[in-house]
Amino acid sequence: MQELTFTTLIAVFEEIFGRGLFWAMVAAALVVTLAYLFVLVRDRSMSMRKFLLAQLSMPFGAVAAVIFVEVMTNSHLRDIGGPVDVIVLLGVAAMGAVGAAILVYTAQSLFFRTKTG
């Protein structure tokens, strides 16, 4: 690859998903992240009860992310060939886990607000 600039990267992602879907996904990720920050700021505290459920969702998010990537790319766990592959796999799993946790926490805070918190 000649040079990997930020604009090249954006162009590549636009081509992978299509311009509309890519920016819709970016928007969705931003909305969830902003909503998460919003509930943190609004509540001025983290609810450990909600966080517990969020943590419980993390393994499911991790596994779902790995399965999603493997199904989308015709690959299997047996294709792991070197250290960098393990790092990529863990990265995908970690993103899935964190994404699921944020989503679950935010959803609870926004839609199932309880006084006990």
Partner: protein
């Protein structure tokens, strides 16, 4: 856990977000001023190279008359053909329309170039239209000489165990139909490559590896043998890559036969005839003999040559590749050695390496630089050093990201992170997910 000191009202929160967006907008890099010119630029070929260059030029020039000559309505994403021929993608994966990628403000002449006169600086099209140029870029690709293989014709592809994936999306899909049957019933798989220069010299190997991998997990497991016959004395022109591939062939039980050029096939008897060239190690005298090899599945790749219009125009090398006719250009600037207003890009360029889309990505900015420098009356500085990239698929799910240059050096894009000679999942992911996207971004002049 308590957070303090942050704006906690909705208004404050939105303000914070707006400030972030404004900062992101300001961070966008500026663009150089376009150069005003009335130059007439003719590009022959709207494939990967011609299209990418046209998109680059419209961003850099204003007032130029850019004409692109190509009769093909369909644009082919050729790196996808290997995936189609292994049943991993449908034929449509490689197809789009030529006009989808071309910029506004240029003229598309939907005809083939019939003649090029470098003295009077004109290109004649098949309908007799004459296009005068100040600068000419030849990027018509190459032609597959299927007739050179006796007994073979394209309508045989897909039946009786005959495959030929280079011939296009439909033939790649039919190649998979024939190969798929082999992966179910087994027998002898015979994979070839031509003696000429060829586009993506890795593709013959990818097809071999993919079909072997799929067969090993299908009904044919344990009931097949794989033979790879090549005219060359190596599996790959870069020695260190050859050695790695030789070891992989050993591990996978693929038999390599060097010095064998496919000359004829007998589809009825399922036998292929090769011309075997053996060089005496002492006297260096070559002896040629004919060797027959049986097959149940054969992958045919015909000799490849420059299009007739190029070979008739006097633009080809006179002393090199005389049977193939590649354009005589400086290997570093891609500028014609006798006609400085002519450049060649992509498959047709007579340079030692670089008949891949990845090379095109590096060639286009070099031609752009020298062409624009010529318009401005100065010398260009960009240099093409033979960069070629080959995501060498070794299994469904694994590949080696091999990148090299004219000097047979490996030039990895991600040194220390993605090892070039290791079969990795990440390299497969790049081929599977990012490559077509990068290619499309390149076509649009954005990568």
């Amino acid at each position: 856990m308590t957070l303090t000191g942050l704006p906690t009202s909705r208004r404050g929160f939105l303000g914070l977000g707006a400030a972030g967006l404004a900062a992101a907008a300001l961070a966008r890099p500026g663009r150089a001023q376009p150069i005003a010119t009335t130059a007439r630029i003719v590009i022959i070929g709207a494939g990967a190279a011609g299209t990418a260059l046209a998109n680059h030029l419209v961003q850099r020039l204003t007032g130029a008359q850019i004409t692109i000559v190509d009769a093909r309505a369909e644009h082919l994403y050729q790196p996808g053909l290997s995936l189609v021929a292994a049943g991993l993608k449908p034929a449509a994966y490689t197809l789009s329309r030529t006009t989808d990628w071309l910029p506004q403000g240029i003229t598309l002449v939907s005809e083939h170039a019939a003649a090029i006169d470098p003295i009077t600086k004109t290109v004649a099209t098949t309908s007799g239209q004459n296009l005068s140029y100040d600068y000419l870029v030849v990027a018509p690709g190459l032609v597959l000489d299927h007739d050179a293989i006796e007994g073979f014709s394209l309508d045989l592809v897909g039946q009786n165990g005959i495959g030929a994936l280079y011939a296009g999306p439909d033939h790649a899909a039919r190649t998979w139909a024939a190969a798929a049957q082999f992966t179910e019933t087994g027998g002898i798989g015979l994979f070839t490559r031509p003696a000429t220069e060829m586009k993506c010299a890795g593709a013959p190997l990818k097809h071999t590896f993919l079909i072997e991998d799929i067969a090993s997990r299908s009904a044919a497991a344990g009931k097949y043998e794989i033979h790879y016959a090549a005219p060359q004395q190596a599996l790959f022109s870069v020695p260190i890559v050859h050695e790695k591939l030789r070891m992989l062939f050993g591990q996978r039980g693929i038999a390599a036969h060097y010095g064998r050029t496919l000359a004829a096939i007998d589809p009825g008897a399922k036998r292929a005839t090769f011309v075997e060239t053996v060089t005496d190690p002492v006297t260096r005298i070559e002896t040629k003999s004919r060797v027959e090899m049986p097959y149940d599945y054969i992958h045919v790749i015909p000799p490849q040559r420059a299009p007739e219009v190029i070979r008739q125009s006097g633009l080809s090398w006179a002393d090199k590749w005389t049977d193939q006719g590649w354009v005589e250009v400086d290997m570093k600037t891609l500028r014609h050695l006798r006609y400085p207003e002519i450049f060649a890009l992509g498959d047709v360029a007579g340079v030692p390496k670089g008949k891949t889309a990845a090379s095109v990505k590096w060639m286009v900015p070099v031609v752009e630089d020298h062409l624009i420098a010529a318009i401005e009356g100065r010398e260009g500085t960009a240099v093409f050093d033979g960069y070629t990239s080959c995501p060498m698929i070794t299994r469904v799910g694994r590949a080696m990201l091999i990148e090299f240059d004219y000097h047979n050096n490996l030039v990895p894009s991600f040194p220390g992170i993605i090892a070039p000679l290791e079969e990795l999942w990440i390299s497969w992911l790049m081929k599977e997910v990012a490559l077509k996207a990068t290619y499309n971004a390149m076509l649009r002049g954005r990568a």
